[in-house]
């Protein structure tokens, strides 16, 4: 791996993310697409704020991890994939579920533990799933999803189709064995998999540089000859473009690829974490790079949208989120008689084939 990959192909240096970079929106971007990215980022923002509120009202239980601060990373990532591509994530995945196109109603209903949720209320916040949207699950065991994605990519290669499998994980997950085994396996079998590392700079209370021998996490591919790059996770277009490059490599060359998006967790690890271990100044600094208002400003400055347009999006998003809460609230809980459903898959096809 060359050090040149520390630079983005467009020459901008993506390795320092502590200063707001001057971002000019590319001329050739479709205006509607840009507005749509903003819309989606705002949806994730408001959805997560609402999840926090609903947790505090005891509508949501268990562990609940939010994507607040990671909106550009989430939306850029989803935009870089094609609908036919598959996705695995960790437990901080509400935004990815929305980004894959799962209805906000079904995501909120899952958080409420309702039968109408995207995992039928069985999984909760950490375990969203939709075959239709090719989200092959959020996973609560750190790193557990990574080998699964390699296996899905194996199935794709085996069948000779051209989907890509992307697997999202946090920085903390890159310190565990499953990650390294996965890189090696993906490389020796030449599998179309994208390792998407969301470096939000903390795994619970552990800063990246304390948990990882190298803090530029994309470089961890080096020992396996797996290519990679780092992008500014606050820049939705940069993330999208990096994921597109990765997808091209995976799809056309059948080579794994690492994209590391440097992002920032605005709040504690989960909704119940008071976040006392992070330096106040650091948190202030991190939050000041907030990608959502920043992107709104860029759109305004480029005259792609006006204040009225922004307000309209705001109202629309508010409405969608309140509707999701209403839907979740009014949906039924799974019937207790269904407790034993799904422990084993049905074997009816065995009968049929007789």
């Amino acid at each position: 791996m060359s050090t040149e990959q520390q630079k983005r192909p467009d020459g901008r240096d993506a390795t320092t993310t502590d200063k707001p970079r001057v971002v000019t929106l590319p001329e050739d971007e479709n205006r509607e697409t840009l507005v749509n990215y903003y819309h989606q980022m705002l949806l994730v923002r408001r959805f997560e704020e609402k999840s926090d509120e609903m947790y505090k009202m005891a509508r949501i239980g268990g562990y609940c991890h939010l994507n607040l601060g990671e909106e550009a990373t989430v939306v850029g990532f989803c935009a870089g994939l094609e609908p036919k591509d598959y996705l695995y994530t960790n437990y901080r995945e509400h935004g990815y579920a929305l980004g894959r196109g799962i209805a906000p109603n079904a995501v909120m209903a899952e958080l409420f533990g309702k039968e109408t949720g995207c995992s039928f209320g069985r999984g909760g916040s950490m375990h969203m799933f939709s075959l239709e949207h090719r989200l092959l699950g959020g996973y609560g065991i750190v790193g557990g999803q990574v080998p699964l994605a390699v296996g899905a990519a194996f199935a794709v290669a085996y069948r000779g189709t051209d989907e890509v499998v992307a697997v999202q994980m946090g920085d903390g997950a890159t310190n565990g064995g499953p990650f390294y085994e996965s890189l090696n396996l993906a490389r020796i079998y030449k599998l179309p998999v994208i390792f998407f590392v969301v470096n939000n700079q903390y795994g619970m209370g552990l800063p990246v540089e304390k948990g990882s021998a190298v803090s530029e996490l994309y470089r961890k591919g080096c020992a396996f000859d797996v290519r990679g790059e780092r992008v500014d996770g606050n820049d939705v277009l940069a993330v999208r473009d990096a994921v597109r490059r990765a997808a091209k490599v995976a799809r056309e060359e059948h080579e794994p690829y690492i994209v590391e998006a440097v992002s920032f967790r605005h709040r504690g690890h989960s909704v119940i974490d008071p976040d006392r271990y992070r330096d106040e100044e650091l948190v202030r600094q991190g939050r000041s790079l907030d990608p959502v208002p920043a992107f709104a400003r860029h759109l305004l400055e480029a005259h792609i949208i006006d204040d009225q347009g922004l307000r309209a999006i705001d109202e629309q998003v508010e409405q969608v989120v309140s509707e999701a809460v209403r839907f979740a609230e009014e949906s039924p809980f799974p019937a207790v008689e269904t407790l034993f459903d799904h422990i084993y898959a049905s074997d009816e096809h065995l009968q049929e084939s007789k």
Partner: protein
């Protein structure tokens, strides 16, 4: 004697043992700066520094293996696995290394290791985060497995665990951390392999451990107050070694037994105890041994489903009502 929480008892004990022996050190995810996911290690990094309280990355197999290796050179690692579920990632180091090294090398190197970890469901943490896996470990010769139910035993058994020369799986419970009880001062040690009669009784015996033992004790006391049944509660405390003698003697006295456990029923602790009782007290039994355990399903997230899957005081009461001798009331 001070009245303190289970959490405080563990915290105090770790502090005392760190002070007592420089070979003792703590290791685990988020135990230092974050002060422990469940705050068991609060304040210890400040007091003892990063040499003794080691924050690890999320690499369970790696750092448990490290702990085993350090124990081979005489250190006494006390490792926290954030919750019982994550121990799965370290199974090989525990099963094939920690539990084997002393035997396989002809007794040349002990492995004085403690792994502390909380189990427990009931907080809507769903299928992968709510498990009770004590049976996995209780099955393995070479390990000690203990599961105290109250602050005093937590202290006494953690001390024994740390000073013991073998790998110990020290099972805590999320639902016990805030419970309180009086704890003897000073160097208080509870031996392994000694069950405790938590309450005497004559009608039937409940055999349990960890949080379910605490719950069984509450139920038994309530029944006594209500003047219903006289229930004896055997708190195992130690699952391996298992105090068969206390179990068998109690069942010989009462003639009836219920095993109350929070893991899945099949192949569970209850199966082992029921087998022991029929082997050693068959002629004394007035009824078959009953098992009250969790329903056999991966724990679902949704509250009504989760509640239906967990065992608790109600299930225990039902079993008592079915099993208790009819002669009374």
């Amino acid at each position: 004697m001070a009245e303190i929480s289970f959490r405080q008892a563990l915290n105090d004990t770790l502090r005392e043992e760190l002070k007592r022996d420089d070979n003792v050190f703590l290791m685990g995810e988020e135990i230092g700066v974050f002060e422990g996911s469940y705050k068991i290690t609060a304040g210890l990094l400040k007091e003892f520094g990063a040499r003794r309280v080691v924050d690890t990355p999320i690499a369970e197999n790696g750092f448990i293996g490290m702990a085993v290796g350090s124990a081979m050179l005489g250190l006494r690692p006390v490792v926290e696995i954030m919750t019982f579920n994550f121990i799965a990632l370290a199974m090989d180091e525990i099963l094939n290394h920690a539990a084997k090294i002393h035997y396989m090398f002809g007794g040349q190197t002990p492995v004085p290791l403690v792994i502390r970890t909380p189990g427990g469901g009931g907080q809507q943490l769903s299928a992968t985060h709510s498990q009770n896996l004590e049976v996995w470990f209780a099955h393995i010769p070479g390990l000690h497995v203990v599961a105290p139910s109250n602050p005093a035993d937590a202290k006494g058994m953690l001390k024994t665990a740390i000073r013991n020369n073998n790998p110990v799986i020290f099972i805590e419970h999320l639902g016990l951390y805030n419970t309180r009880g009086s704890v003897p001062d000073g160097d208080y040690l509870v031996p392994f392999g000694k069950a405790k009669i938590a309450k005497e009784g004559t009608d039937l015996t409940i055999i349990s451990y960890s949080r379910m033992a605490a719950m069984a004790l509450d139920v038994a006391r309530r029944l006594e107050q209500e003047n219903k049944w006289s229930v004896e509660v055997v708190d195992l405390r130690s699952l391996r070694p298992l105090d068969k003698e206390t179990i068998v003697n109690s069942v010989k006295k009462t003639g009836r037994a219920i095993v109350f456990e929070e893991d899945w029923r099949s192949y569970g602790i209850g199966a082992e105890i029921a087998a022991t009782v029929q082997e050693e007290a068959f002629d004394y039994l007035d009824a078959p041994v009953k098992r009250v355990a969790n329903v056999e399903v991966p724990l679902p997230y949704s509250k009504p489903l989760e509640s239906a899957a967990l065992t608790g005081a109600k299930q225990l009461l039902d079993a008592i009502n079915e099993l208790a001798p009819r002669r009374r009331r």
